[in-house]
Amino acid sequence: MALENLKGRVAFIFEEVDFDVDQIVGVKNIKIQDIDELAAAAMQAYDPAFRDKVRPGDILVGAGNFGYGHPHYPPMKAMRHLGIAGVVAESFSPGYWRGEISMGFPQASCPGILGLVERWDEIEVDWDAAEVRNLTRGGSLPMEPLSFADRSMLEAGGLVGYLKRPTAA
């Protein structure tokens, strides 16, 4: 099954290395269950007008070891609710990576991405070519190919869909 390319604007660039994603909603909001309320709390510390600017299909960009610490699921639930389609980062922390891939949320590891894009550039994540392209300014960078299992999980929309498929081994 084909994995659809991500094509969207860079809605925000988290330049902090070892970024703790919990800061996206703020730790005091991490237990909010209501998704609208959670989404309203998202990005307040970074760009209070974020939710008015973001469009479905937009992409987040991160620095090295994105998701370090003890990442929780609510921040990216809020981001998906706002229309964010995936994250491209220089590199990812394994716990965060596993957690979000299992939610079926695309993540692309692309060393050098911070030098390739500026906020609101339109970019494309091409899974088959293992490449991230800047459609606004031109230029591209190779990304690390997904493992078979990670790719299958994204294609299946997440862990449960993946596990319902017949096993390869």
Binding site: D18, D22, H70, S93, G95, R98, S102, M103, L159, L163
Partner: protein, 418 residues
Amino acid sequence: MGYTIAEKILARVSNKDAVKAGDEVMAKPDFVIAYDFPGYTDVIFRQMKEDFGIDKVPDPDRYAIFIDHMVPAATPKEEELHIITRDWCRENGVALYERRGIGHQVAAEVGYAVPGAFVVHFDGHISQLGTFGTLAMGIRRNLLEAFVRERVSIKVPATVRVNLTGTLQKGVYARDVFHHLVRTLGPASCRFQVLEVGGPAIEQISTEGLQTITGLAMFTGAVTAIVNPDKARLEYAQARAKKDIEPVWSDDDAEYAAVHEIDLTDLEPIVVIPPTPANSRNLSDYIGIEINTGYLGSCASGRLEDIKVAAEILKGRQVAPGFQLNVVPTSQEIMAAAGRAGYLSTLAEAGAFVSSPSCDYCFGRMGTMTAGQRAVSTGTLNVRGRMGSPDSEIYLCNAATVAATAVEGKIADPRPYL
């Protein structure tokens, strides 16, 4: 080229003669472990039935559940979660360990840290079973795979070898060694890799100390940590082992992603300043910061040697007025041993609040701080809000530093007390 211990273990559980870093395999965990936590085990149990039609796990001896969070329950909802767990374990014939202590520690005590075994959990601190030559990985929600299938998909990780050399100074402990590793190598140095700890200096680090180091591995980015087992650790683990597995060791010519040598001779006690576990600093630069509360416990520390040094420092002294010192032994077995040795009475006489094993102090369900407060802690993590208000602060340090700080009410160097 030879193989790492991690590659050897993953080859066995994948039914292959050999695997190398980067291979994708379907591996059968020897043990599947979890603690009950809302949104995790209750969801896994429900999904097994509703999404996959599995009424019972086929091989119950491979599974173990621990009740170590929300102990004791503080709300009816918490107790309801425990009931779901107890019922599921009974219906499935799966071992349940309740009120025995923090699961990652108890798992070793009751025999899941089998040298050569492959273990999965959703929580990354299970890596501490690596002390005994067990490959134990926290795979987060993918743990569901281990509940609904016999095998889990794993990309064989490369290994970073760290050789510890030199001589540890007085007042410097395993905890400092780990935080120094993060400082020296960086918080992403072992990303998606196994941290293999060795070298001549590990002779000076106790089994408990190695559990501290391996248990915190995720803060180097590692997916787990492992130590090639020696005679003493083999004896501890094999006497309790729930399964008969041939231990394995890394070959001398194993292929590592990197090999680092770290000399511990000049290492001083460390403090990890808020708000990230990447912030290792020399303790001496932070002496005198006013502190409100101290926590000695968690799956990372809170073992007998931690409690012993705290008792030695607090013997004949008193916790500073207004300072709240919580001492929480990591397991019942440790608590009983600390009681027999007289450490607990010493700590109680000094004004410490001594509590039964529980994970709850580590993540702020108990011993909660309000805005503006500061803690010294042997817990696992110092991110914002970990022990209560996002506007409180956590300074991670060794157990001796917690005790000395409790005496002075401000961050204190434990060495003059030793």
